[in-house]
Symmetry: D2
Subunit: 380 residues, 4 copies
């Protein structure tokens, strides 16, 4: 699939972090960590564990090799194991994938991908928030006409507007960080009992979590998709925070208002004079799409018996889609906010005859100070 | 509107807690708390504050009186104030709704309604979780065939199944409690600057929060809908936890499996022998509908300028709809779980020739113990 | 439930057409038509059919009486029949609800409600479209600045803008009319075989369809929810057509552009000078909510076996919600469009130094003429 | 992006038909047809038209070359034209993209992609429907227990069940064919006036439509996204029809019911005995995801002014996503249905002591005959 243009609604980095090569690598990391943890717990021979770790690190499996098997079995883990078994020497082969089920591998690998993607997202969000903090600080006293229902209402300050965006974004970032920390190892075995690990089950799960940098869930979560649903919710909260900024910037950048402009507006194929709010548009395009995969994930929380048929299998593609869009929104928002041009003269002009009071300035400054004080990045 | 039958997808209590009478009462409570807080802060005369509080407590305003004005102005606050102004004596009249905007009143009233509805929901969820804890404890050693992709797989225990439901529900309850605690007073004035309150803005907001039992948001949140979005997300997490139970119970209660039954199965208009899983069906019907209002709320997070046109106005009806459905799901789930009949003989029969190991029993017991230890209600 | 304020997102007429009283009346109409058709086909005695028809017309059943039974059985048909049976004399009682299942009654009643609601909607849409045709005709030559990505681009005419709205709305109306005509009688019996009617099944269904003014579906559609899904899709198409108008009107009515205004702008509780685009806001608020119930209906198309547990039961409340919102959007759009004030001087001013060409005028006129020629209501 | 595994939720053919190479090729086809039509209409020199056609056919542009420009301008048309202009000789260069805007090219190219994808989908659906017709015919008299709310109810026949699926699928196919035929050329110029083409506008659009095998829309549809919304709705109707089949097959294939089986059930990584309903699972996984992009498209119908910022740009990625999932669902359903194994002995066993009547058989046969008579593929 040639989909370079789709990168417009994502970023090259996040696409790499989430593509099939990354998924195969993550699945191998999980099999490796499982082998190592089972070796450490004495469930499998140390030599077997060592060979499994070594092979998982060195085997080269291309996603294309797995496609036919993934189709036949509705999971890529079955063909992955076929390939991996062939790479491990016969005496140790039986210890591969010890006690695990496909979902253990795929859920854990999905969390690994998500954790890496969220790192990228969180970095862009932190930079965006810091830039908002700077704008809030610099423009705490820049009076601007406030508008409600698209009508001029009463004056505010542009710094206070930015402080409001900052508060919302900082809140959403905290939620996203929280769900990042819930991303967990999955270890349940065929029906989630951990029977295969006997009394060592909890130890193996905890050891895998440590090795992979994920949380120890305490219980298998084959049918408890709360952490995935919480991620979907948090992604939409971030999307809302970024979308408010982009929507407002696009309006304030309109020809008739003209109070802000993008650093590098987009051009038009037909109208050389156009200065399109390209970054704001791309943020909105990403955010508008977020509800799709988020809805798929949230509608998929109610699952049946010990492994759902159809709903769970839809989760990983929806999760990757969600994370790509989220990364796209975050990256475009960062570019938008860090490069924003503020036309203070136009803001003054648009006030017309309205004269802002000192009380307004003091009140706005107090709220800006409150938002900056709460900002994890510190005041600029 | 005669909509008694809609109560099937809600509860009578939550319907009362969220209906228009409750909304009018909540708006009056907000105007009262605003008046009291402004009086305490010295922004308005103490006598005015006292009369406002008294009138808000005694005035009788029927929702029907507000309908025409709500239509004309796209907000019920304008006609509410017309009625309320008429009830306050002329010298004090001007101090009503001091410095506030419609959205201040409606957002705070919405949070009051939500807080009351969530109390009802949380009580039903606590009872459901406690009943799950009892089932988990009682059936920790009741072996049952595990099923994945609707195929018999390997044995588990029914207690472990219940422990998994409990862990998911306890997680979702914690999230819901967290969003309940974020429900906040709104105080921003026309464009969110609090200019009208001068240096007393933060004090007035904090005082109102104390009087109304809501959180002090620190900043106006006219365009920061994160707390509403977080509620929508948490509601879906609860829905997912309950939906997993209901979906599985409906399957386990199927004629061919027959391992559980509802305490009072539903009848059929055509087939006297039918034992329909009526409560499970109603849980699923409520949960299936939750994505509608939740999606409306989450898609409405990106708002423009100082007050959005169209998206914000859709929030309150969606919020009430969401809470009704959530309460319906919780109440039906409570009835379902507290009355569940477990047919252990049938569970044994369905195992066929499969003999469960002691290791399975130990492993399941350990996981059940972990879930019970984490259960806020304590082990039964 | 006191929900008068919810009428803002609906209309009083459609609320009446869809409330529980209307649902009970519709269910009685269906039982009556079923009795009459079975009598005419010789399946039940003529005297029984006559008494059933008479009793269904005269019995008074309040929705509140059905609520407890609806809850116990997850369908209101079971308690309705209990009440109705008591009203029919013993020898004829057994012929009531002849061969039918709850879903037969409820699906048909739902289609009756939908058909009545769509009549109201289609009338408002026709009036809106006619008003757009008049605006298109009157302003075919009123030059206005075109705007893309919120930037001034090149001139168009306001009449052409209206013609574009008209074309979209006329297309959506045609789709809505089409789904209205698909609304059908349901007759399948317990599992959709029509066994109970023997060779007369098709005749009974066709006769019921004729008596009730609905389509004859040819086959039972217990598990074929296509017609409901198509209605959900068509409602969103209408919503999109109306939403484009409202969103654009709100922007064009903004203080800085000021090219159009509502006939009766809304007021503000805090700012006497505000002229809020109240009707556009209400259209957008209704349209924004439409995706909720529409998504519920569309996600509910995949149903299992001979009657789904949970998804089907969610259909009727979602359908009623959808139709209320659709009616609200249509009514507000009608008020918005029929009362729209066009400020041609401001449109001219906003062109600045741009001089429109005669070719533009001719081109716009040709497109306006094309839209008017295709408009079912005829050119104004 | 390496995404071979995503093919599990699509098909290799549809991925190729919708990838970036296909998009670039489609954009070049549109520029070519535009040049040819403008040449034929005398708007540009014949030699320029000829060179444009020739260059569009021979130029090689890789999607990767366009990515940076697509990002900068929020549309790939701007960089495509830069590349294309360089390939056309200076005297003819100015006639490229004559009078058009980016959206004209991208909307038309999107319709070309959709038309090709729908051909693939419709072929799989036709084969699925024909296989259902054969099953309906072959099993019209195969008695099976009917099940409602997952409880055994009354007997039906498996042929009638298949006939019900056929009727729903044939209806959905008709809707999908209808929206395929609405896919249209876009030609509006910068703000949708066709001013640039003068009196020849309608002729150029009709000629392009003929050359590209798309419909002539009559009017520019920059802000009338009805045809895209209708496609989203129809895709979900198809998804519902296929999902009902898959959900029911998965249940009937469950260990305890065992009445049908897939031709090639999937295996498990942990349980060699498992016979997973892999194809049914994949159908459900595709269908479950459909609501995401369909919702994005339907929520994007309400657009502002002459070109929307954010919502329109999200349309093409959502459209491609939708079509991939739809093709995946259709291909998996075809494999599922054409290979379905029916265990008539088990169906008989599951009836227990229930003895089906001749009237049931006659009634079922009559309904099967009705569905087969209405089937466009003819009775088998």
């Amino acid at each position: 699939m040639s989909d370079e243009l789709a990168a417009v609604f994502a970023t090259p980095d996040v696409i790499r972090a989430l593509d099939d090569d990354a998924l195969v690598a993550a699945m191998l990391s999980v099999e490796s960590a499982l082998g190592a943890a089972c070796g450490a717990a004495g469930l499998i021979p140390a030599a077997a564990a060592a060979e499994i770790e070594e092979r998982c690190a060195s085997v080269e499996i291309s996603p294309a090799e797995l496609a036919a098997g993934a189709l036949a079995h509705a999971t890529p883990v079955v063909p992955l194991l076929e390939r991996l078994r062939a790479a491990v020497s016969p005496p140790h082969r039986e210890y591969l994938h010890f006690g695990a089920t496909s979902q253990d591998i795929l859920d854990t690998a999905g969390c690994l991908l998500a954790a890496r993607a969220l790192e990228l997202v969180l970095a862009d969000l932190a930079a965006t928030a810091d830039a908002l903090a700077q704008l809030a600080s610099a423009h705490a006293g820049t009076v601007q006409m406030g508008r409600t229902l698209l009508q001029q209402a009463r004056p505010t300050t542009f710094g206070l507007v930015c402080a409001g965006w900052l508060a919302a974004l900082d809140g959403a970032r905290a939620d996203l960080l929280d769900v990042r920390e819930r991303l967990a190892v999955q270890l349940g075995g065929p029906v989630g009992t951990r029977e295969e690990y006997g009394p060592a089950g909890a130890v193996v799960a905890a050891d895998m979590a440590r090795r992979l940098g994920l949380a120890d869930p305490g219980m298998p979560w084959h049918t408890d998709r709360q952490r995935i649903g919480a991620l979907a919710g948090a992604a939409q909260l971030v999307g809302g925070a970024l979308g408010s900024i982009a929507r407002t910037v696009a309006l304030l950048a309109s020809t008739e208002i003209g109070e802000v402009a993008e650093a590098q507006p987009g051009g038009s194929s037909a109208m050389p004079h156009k200065r399109n709010p390209a970054r704001a548009t791309l943020v909105l395009a990403c955010v508008h799409q977020l509800a799709g995969p988020a809805g798929t994930l949230l509608a998929g929380l109610a699952v049946e018996e010990q492994r759902s048929a159809g709903v769970w299998q839809a989760e990983l593609p929806a999760l990757r889609h969600l994370l790509r869009l989220l990364a796209g929104a975050a990256a475009h928002a960062r570019a938008l906010v860090t490069g924003l041009r503020v036309d203070t003269a136009r803001m003054r002009d648009n006030l017309g005859s309205v004269v802002p009071s000192q009380i307004l300035l003091d009140s706005a400054q107090a709220l800006v100070d409150a938002a900056l004080a709460a900002h994890p990045g510190g005041a600029p």
